[in-house]
Each structure stands twice: as structure tokens, then as C-alpha cells.
Amino acid sequence: MKIAISSSENNENSKVSDRFARSEYFIIYDHDKLSFEAIVNTAKDEGSGAGGKAVKILGDAGVDIALVPELGPKALEALLAFDIKSYQYPREKTVKEVLYLYFEKKLPELLISTSKGKH
């Protein structure tokens, strides 16, 4: 199982990002290998449609679960289409902290979008 977390920097001790599609990095936690890997979020510089593209990056990386601060309607629709479940984390934490919160089942699952998307 792979879990993606939007992050402001490139390691598991970084602060989580307060945006999903335009975060700097995604930290991918591989629960089978117990390892972390950072991927640069190339969708963040898109003029429009960053949400869909960001999800595609996660989908191509084989992610099963995404921990996010917020979600636009396009990103949510795309996550559902990629069979990726999403959970909302509180701000100002680190990547590791929100991951623990997820395993403690303390993060709410997102089934409707929390923000309106950007063009």
C-alpha cells in the first residue's frame, strides 16, 4: 500500500503543504517497504487543471491513499476515478505526524470537495 502526502519540502520531516494540487512535493510512503520517497509535483506550475494532473502523477506512481489539506472538485473526481481514497489532515503538522494520525484513524475521509478548483 502506498500513501501520498502533499508536502512543502522533500522529506518526511517537512511541513505538510496547505495546498494539494499546487504543493511543492508529494512524499510517497510505501507501507510494504516501510520507506519514504519524494516526488516533485510538476502539476504545481500548470496554468490550469493542476488538480487533475496532480492526481494523475499519484495514479501513475501507484498510490492507493492520499492525505490532503483540501480538494477541488476536479481533483476529487480524478482521485475517485483512480481509485485513490483521500483523507484530510490538519495544517501546520509534519508529513510523519499526519501519517501517524492516519494510522490512528483520526483523519476524516473526503467524499465531497472542500474548495472550488482553480482554472
Binding site: D18, R19, R22, G47, S48, R91, S115, K116, K118, H119
Partner: protein, 285 residues
Amino acid sequence: MINEIVVISGKGGTGKTSLTASIIPYFEDLVIADCDVDAPDLNILIKGDIVQERDFIGFQRPVIDYDKCTYCGLCQTSCNFNAISEDIIIKNATCEGCKVCEYVCPTDAITMHDTIIGKIYHRKTIFGPMIDARLIPGEESSGKLVAEVRKLARDVAYEENRNTIIIDGSPGIACNVISAITGVSKAIIVTEPTISGLHDLKKVVHLVRMFSVKAKVIINKYDLSLSKAKEIKEYLDLMGIEVILELPFDVEMVNSINNLKIPSTTDMPFFSSDEWFKFIEYLRK
């Protein structure tokens, strides 16, 4: 969380920029973002030295290698934007960079190259850093440039630990406005009591609703038509949107712009009124 305030107006010329400039002196930990990239005028009042200037690459555009081109015309007929002329010349103003022409070209004569569509300036002003931008006249994609100006403003705010971003948005309702309002904390819509003002206000209200942006309205020059001002208030009442400020028409407003002074720093009586300070208080929250 950063307090992002955007000032917009459906109709141009309602006094949006003059009012944006007027609220700036009341904030201490501020980043200014001029997102009215078609008419970036804030720097005329908020003077600042350019600290950094860089090109903005909007997208990629096709370049034709005429040594390889056989003038088969396939690119011209495939282009949905009429951006290639019959004598196979790219019309930059209409090209949207979709790269269909590159794909269909049988002789690989077309390649895509980065295109500079504008410039972004980082200025230092006495009120704080300011990001503004200029689009090369006739270029499209101003939405992208607006998104970039906002992103840089946020970056600066994080770096320098500043808690407020004031955005001067563009008039209208297209991509540049959408880019300017998405995800902000508050939107201030500046309107005027004219038939056009009301008409355009309705469209902007529709837009801010669509993007779930919290908005309040300023009626500028309200005494130029008390009846229209009343009509605007009735409409906003119906929509459940608060009129947070009503400003009278005052020639001093124009005079201060002509003298390159921020209106709220002159001795116009309105800017020492209770309503004005109440409004500033609302913005600070």
C-alpha cells in the same frame, strides 16, 4: 493562515485601483499583488524600486523550419484556432499552443518552443514587497500570469513571514479574474451606481458564488445616482451580500490620482470617517 484580500470590479473604471491603493497603508505585514495584468496601475501610486525582473514563459508555441516544410498545408487545415495562414506562417496572437500542428506535420518541420508572454516584477515599496506583471500586448493566457503573480506573492509572504496579501484583480469575469479570486479569504467588489455598474455587478456576484468566495461590496460615487445606488442595494439585499462601504463622488479622488498620491493619505474627509475605519477593521480580521 495568510489573509488574502482581493479587490475586483465587474466593470472597469469604478475606482478599484484607487481603493486598493487606499487600503494598503493600513497594513504592516503586507505583500501587494497587482493581478490586473492588462492595466497594471498600482505601481503608479505605490511607487517602488524593481528588485527583480524576469520573463514569464506562458506556454510553448510552434516554430516552423522552412527548410523542412513542404507547404502541404496539413497544419493549416488541422489548426482549430486559425492560427496558421495559408502561406504557412504562425499567427502568434491566435495560437494557443496545443501542438496539433507539430503532431500532424509529416516532415517534422514544426517544433514547440518556450514563449515569453510577459514580465514579472518584484518591487520594494515603503508598504512592503509588491509583485506585478505586464503582458505583452495582444498575448493571451493572462490567467496563467495572474496565477504566477499570486504564487510569487504567497512565496514572499511565507519567506518574510507576512500575514496579509492584497490583490488588485482585473475587471471582467474571464480566466484572469477566476485566477485572481480562487482560494482568497475575502473579496471586495467595487461597483458604481450606473446601469452598467449594476449589470456587471450581477455577473461578478454570480462568479464569486460559483467559486464560493466570501464577498462584500463597495458602492463608489454612490451620489452620482441615488436611485441606481438604491437599486444596487436592493439587489444585494436580495442576494444576502453586505454593502460594506458607500463613497461619495469627490473630485479630490481624481485630483489625488493626478498628483500621484494615494487617496486615503490625503485630507479627504471620507478617509477619517468611522465607516472607513470599520471597513479597514473588517479587512484586518
